[in-house]
Amino acid sequence: MAEVELLDRGRAPLLAQPFYAAGDPGPIAAALAHVPEVMETALPFIDSIFGRTAVDPRLKEIVVLRVSAANRCRYCVQTHTRVAAGMGFGGDELRALLGEGRPPPGWSPLERVVLAFAQALSERPETAVGLLRPHLEEPAIVELVTLGAATEMLNRFATALALPA
């Protein structure tokens, strides 16, 4: 059970109501709705960084799931394990992302670097960008750092509020 009420459509504040137009907006939105002026800027930000961008979605999912697992965020790990499986990540790949195995032999050097970057971002963030720099241009680096940092924020948010997966 979540630590706060997850606002349903009938109790959604005015600025939050557009996010309920297509149905249940999910627990992150339903919690953020308590502070609608934050919600209306936070959710578009989250959508923009977690959605389709110039960076390969596979690389982004490696970051999201590895960071979430490193932070032991139950909600984010469960939801993004489903997302990653839906994107075609296999069982051995998921185990690697969850920190339960090594990356499979078929992974590209870039994928391995991004996995290491995600791990470093959670443990020694000052070293993380150095891992990416030989492989990616600065816009992609900034985006992956932003994605990892946003994931860290949501990991704390979801864990502190005990959001149901």
């Binding site: 109790r11 005015l14 600025l15 002026e37």
Partner: protein
């Protein structure tokens, strides 16, 4: 011209900024929107904050202030705060009319003038009808308070909340308030709105956002679309008409309110006469 002043001039939002000074009350009215009662948790905008919001309201471009609750006169320091507020903008305070001791009236005496009024609730000319909704001896207390305030030079308005006031009953009530020196222009009759305690008891009429005038309303819990927004049911605050949690700086909820009101159209739906 500020954004608020432009929105008020264009009738996008109302010119009055409402402030819920508190939620607690010495009465337990049957249709209360906020389930106010003596024992409810104290959620207040303290007097200094009321004064600060009044100054912000004037600078922002609002044209008047309204103070409601709960019973505002249970808030410590309210008379002095009202004096400071009405020096900024014309101020109307809603009251149940039961606390106007001679001492309190003396404290209010400096507020006599065109920029301050007290709106007191009275729901029927018949004591048994009024007191059935508002509590024992309420009718008698209100009828004692009005002349006392008027003698001090305080303008008194009367608000009647009812869904069952027929022509003869309204005529008796109007005869009563005229006799107390309250003119027809200062008598407001409004329906019970089905929110708060009224909803729990199946009283009143539904009021959607489109039917409620856009009047920014600040509370200890945030800023709402209308004074009918921050209602309480089953001890839980309704959030469906919440605009922002931020109330200061006032520019934050005011900007959000204008954006919402501009998007909702103006005057298209039948409006509920609420104040």
């Amino acid at each position: 011209m500020t954004a608020v002043a432009e929105a008020v001039a264009a009738d996008v939002i109302g010119g009055r900024l409402w402030l819920y000074s508190n939620y607690h009350c010495n009465l337990i009215c049957s249709y209360c929107l906020t389930e106010s009662a003596p024992g409810v948790p104290r959620r207040e905008i303290p007097a200094p904050a009321l004064v600060a919001r009044a100054a912000e309201a004037r600078a922002a471009g609002f044209t008047s202030l309204g103070v409601t609750g709960g019973e505002p006169f249970l808030l410590p320091g309210l008379p002095a705060a009202l004096a400071a507020m009405s020096a900024q903008l014309p101020t109307l305070v809603l009251s149940n009319g039961t606390l106007f001791s001679r001492r309190l009236v003396d404290e209010l005496r400096p507020l006599a003038g065109p920029d301050f009024a007290i709106q007191i609730s009275l729901d029927s000319a018949e004591p048994e009808v009024n007191d059935g909704m508002r509590g024992p001896r309420n009718h008698a207390r209100v009828l004692a308070a009005i002349p006392r305030l008027a003698d001090a030079g305080i303008r008194v308005r009367l608000a009647t909340t009812s869904d069952s006031l027929d022509g003869p009953a309204l005529a008796r009530l109007c005869e009563l308030h005229r006799g107390l020196g309250v003119p027809d222009a200062d008598h407001v009759v409004r329906p019970i709105v089905r929110r708060g305690r009224a909803a729990g008891r199946g009283l009143g009429r539904e009021a959607r956002r489109e039917q409620l005038p856009a009047e920014l309303t600040l509370t200890a819990d945030g800023a709402f679309w209308s004074p009918f927004g921050p209602t309480v049911r089953g001890g839980r605050l309704d959030t469906d008409l919440l605009v922002t949690r931020t109330t200061s700086p006032l520019s934050a909820p005011a900007a959000a309110m204008i954006r919402l009101a501009a998007g909702s159209g103006s005057g298209a739906a039948e409006r509920v006469q609420v104040r």
